[in-house]
């Protein structure tokens, strides 16, 4: 079975939620739509307090090509434009507060009926951008940008990422099982945009039911590939490497080796946007972990407070850590008063015994991190440099190639927070280069 070099085998823990069918999160009375839910240039709100909005209506204007708008998750009134804790940065960020009117009325003309396969490439890309679609695996890079590679980067490979290699999470798994047609159709739209006549949907072998179903349903030009179960199989560079044997060059992008990778959920959203004009206002999220009473896979609107999501799942149970995303790369939160975003693939609640709360000790040079690193780095050296803040030396030791997958930190017997050190060193290096540019 295809795979990459390095990686680890953490306990999968998917059984907590993988067999729970997707349930609709009920319409609630208030939504908090963060303006910045994508990676790239900012957007600015175009509504103000008191405005009536309807479901799917545009709320913000993207400032630049690498930027997308956000949309109203339901019909109602804009209560205010405020600031709230951003789950990714932890800082206060602008947010549009909407009080629902309970009618859940669509904006004019939505949803519409059209045939994406008679639309031009530009029309499709526009539909994707104006629907506010971003990578839903967690990176939240604007999808229309990914699908518009420059002319000097010919693309011959399109991969749909259904690996879902993060432990605990099952949102992509449920989507592939319950709505395979949306994914397959979205894949064909993306193939049309990229001018390709074939695509591969890659799924880790621990989801045999999804692999079977997709193989049954997929047209001849979409190949379903089972991948070895190993973390981080779903990391973009490792996925491309497993399937094509190509290595994205250091500092480069997938398009440098002719590849575009898109998350399975993103493909489904692309189909909704292109065929029905529906913007990205809801997503499938796994609410799981032993710290939540009833783990569930929910279809939830973007802007729903996590506190309400957790209440819907029976509340907390000895919660020690609340995480947006999976346990390997997710972001720990310090409050429940934060909204579900476009990139929230999971809300994971861990108890103290499920997580790792111990002090670290000196590196014993066991080499386990070197074995685990899928990028061929020496994480132990980076961690020692991180303790001293020596970012220049760390850059010489390939700091900037680290994808922060966490494999090294997972296996470290001395419990060293290597990813933490890497993030710290990267911040120091960024600050220094910003300073030198400013000077």
């Amino acid at each position: 079975m295809k795979t990459f070099k390095g990686g680890i085998h953490p306990p999968e823990e998917k059984k907590l939620v993988k067999d729970n069918p997707i349930v609709d999160f009920p319409l609630i009375s208030r939504f908090y739509v963060l303006v910045q839910q994508h990676l790239g240039a900012p957007a600015k709100p175009i509504v103000s307090a008191g405005d009536e909005v309807r479901k799917g209506q545009v709320l913000s204007e993207p400032l630049g090509f690498v930027s997308v708008p956000v949309h109203a998750p339901t019909s109602g009134k804009v209560k205010e434009i405020g600031r709230m804790v951003h789950p990714v940065t932890g800082l206060l960020a602008p947010c549009i507060v909407i009080d629902a009117d309970g009618k859940d009325e669509w904006a004019d003309g939505l949803p519409l009926e059209r045939d994406p396969f008679s639309m031009s490439r530009e029309e499709l890309l526009n539909a994707i951008k104006s629907a506010g679609i971003v990578g839903m695996g967690g990176a939240t890079f604007p999808t229309h940008v990914k699908l518009s590679p420059p002319k000097d980067k010919p693309i011959d490979t399109f991969i749909v990422n259904g690996a879902e290699c993060e432990p605990y999470l099952s949102s992509d798994h449920r989507l592939m099982l319950e709505q395979p047609d949306r994914i397959l159709q979205g894949t064909r739209v993306a193939m049309r945009i990229l001018g390709l006549d074939r695509a591969t949907i890659a799924v880790e072998a621990n989801k045999p039911d999804a692999i079977r179903l997709l193989r049954e349903k997929a047209p001849a030009d979409i190949q379903i590939e089972a991948l070895k179960v190993k973390y981080p199989q779903g990391a973009e560079k490792q996925l491309i490497n497993a399937l094509t044997k190509r290595e994205v060059p250091s500092g480069g992008l997938p398009m440098d080796v002719g590849a575009v990778v898109q998350n399975a959920g993103t493909c489904a959203a692309v189909w909704d946007a292109c065929a029905r004009g529906i913007p990205l206002i809801e997503r499938i999220t796994s609410v799981t972990g032993r710290g939540v009473v009833q783990p569930k896979n929910i279809r939830v609107r973007v802007g729903t407070l996590v506190r309400e999501v957790i209440e819907f799942c029976g509340g907390l149970n000895e919660a020690a850590k609340i995480i947006f995303g999976g346990p390997m790369m997710g972001i720990a939160q310090f409050t429940q008063e934060i909204p579900i975003m476009k990139g929230t693939s999971g809300v994971l609640v861990l108890r103290e015994e499920d997580t790792n709360i111990t002090l670290y000790s000196a590196c014993i040079s066991c080499g386990r991190c070197v074995e685990a690193c899928p990028m061929g780095l020496i994480p132990s050296v980076l961690s020692k440099l991180g303790e001293k803040g020596m970012w220049e030396k760390a850059v010489e030791n390939n700091l900037l190639d680290c994808v922060e997958c966490g494999s090294c930190t997972y296996v470290c017997p001395a419990n060293r927070p290597i990813v933490h050190f890497v993030k710290h060193l990267k911040a120091l290096s960024r600050a220094a280069s910003a300073k030198s540019k400013g000077a």
């Binding site: 405020g82 804790v85 310090f334 590196c363």
Partner: protein, 345 residues
């Protein structure tokens, strides 16, 4: 702009106590392997048990005494040092106890208690703590302790009680030579190995020979080593390459001149090679980090061992070989960096 939502305690702690939440916040990943440092040290101790038991069987109560004194004094010295210097006490990580056990395995069973205590002092204080404690020592602490004793107390360190079954032990054990010692004497005095006593390869394989209390049974040490490899505590690279290097070099010489050089199988089972290859050279802190580095390191250990055994002043060269190669580890690490992902090869 106002801060929302009002229920967020991070924004207004007084307003809504019901929403208060006490959770940990730290960088990803949020899960961790249960295989921590104390676990690794425990596995190595388990792997040493067969070798230690064979030592106790053939050398009796004195062997138990040496092991007990070494482990206790290593742990006590680490705790004492850390108490005196005001640094955190780390004896719970198991590494001091393991150093004590390894030191004992490398000593003659007849070593007096004060010799063991001095060896422990050198191992823990001089070789480990002076350099900054666990993870920072360039040389294998147990071997530094052993070699210090060997140089300072040569008579006590080369007085080898004869192996006897545990049940026929007597208080005044007779002493004799190790197989390698007998070989060296024969070559020095007669210029040929023919003068050495008849060599039975089964005795050193099972442990019925003179030697350090933990090195005598190749079989027991291989069993422990296989356990470490199966448990993924060590990789095969260092032990296999080390042993293979010794076999190849001594084999070539034996083929050329069987009168002047001993059979390579003898070199594998006699002396401290198995203990050194599986347990001393594989010490994580003092061996290279990459597999390629481990191979280079092991070839060096093997070559130096053979040179000392055949042409050096000492009959055995494993300890010196490993310590010498320890010094090259930083250099080897620098020369064997892995190729990072995304670089044209």
């Amino acid at each position: 702009m106002k801060n929302v939502p009002a229920s967020n305690p991070a924004q207004d702690p007084e307003k809504d106590q019901t929403a208060k939440l006490s959770v940990y916040v730290s960088s990803s990943p949020h899960v961790h392997t249960p295989e921590d440092v104390p676990w690794i040290m425990r596995q190595v101790v388990y792997a040493l048990i067969p070798g230690a038991l064979v030592g106790v069987y053939f050398f009796g109560i004195p062997a138990i005494k040496v092991i007990a004194v070494a482990v206790a004094s290593c742990v006590a010295m680490e705790a004492l040092w850390q108490k005196l210097t005001g640094s955190p006490i780390t004896i719970n990580d198991g590494s001091a106890a393991l150093t004590g056990l390894l030191l004992a395995m490398n000593l003659p069973s007849g070593a007096p208690w004060w010799l063991v205590v001095i060896g422990s002092f050198v191992a823990i204080i001089i070789a480990k703590q002076i350099f900054g404690g666990i993870g920072n020592n360039p040389f294998n602490p147990a071997l530094v302790g052993r070699v210090f004793l060997l140089i300072s107390f040569p008579v006590a360190m080369t007085t080898w009680p004869e192996p006897r079954s545990f049940f026929t032990q007597t208080a005044d054990a007779t002493t004799g030579a190790t197989p390698l010692g007998a070989l060296k004497t024969a070559i020095f005095e007669h210029g040929t190995i023919g003068a050495a006593p008849e060599m039975n390869l089964m005795d050193p394989f099972l442990g019925n020979v003179g030697g350090s209390l933990g090195e005598i049974s190749a079989l027991a040490l291989i069993l422990g080593g296989v356990y470490l490899i199966a448990r993924r505590i060590i990789t095969w690279h260092i032990p296999v390459v080390y042993i293979a290097t010794v076999a190849v070099l001594t084999g070539i010489l034996w083929l050329i001149n069987p009168e002047g050089y001993a059979n390579p199988v003898f070199h594998l089972v006699a002396g401290g090679l198995m203990l050194g290859a599986f347990f001393m050279a594989t010490d994580m802190v003092t061996s290279p980090i990459t597999n390629m580095g481990k191979i280079i390191f092991a070839v060096g250990c093997g070559a130096i061992t053979v040179v000392i055994r055949l042409w050096g002043g000492y009959p055995e060269g494993v300890s010196f070989a490993i310590l010498i190669m320890n010094a090259f580890v930083p250099l080897i690490n620098r020369a064997t960096k892995p190729t990072k992902f995304g670089v044209v090869r």
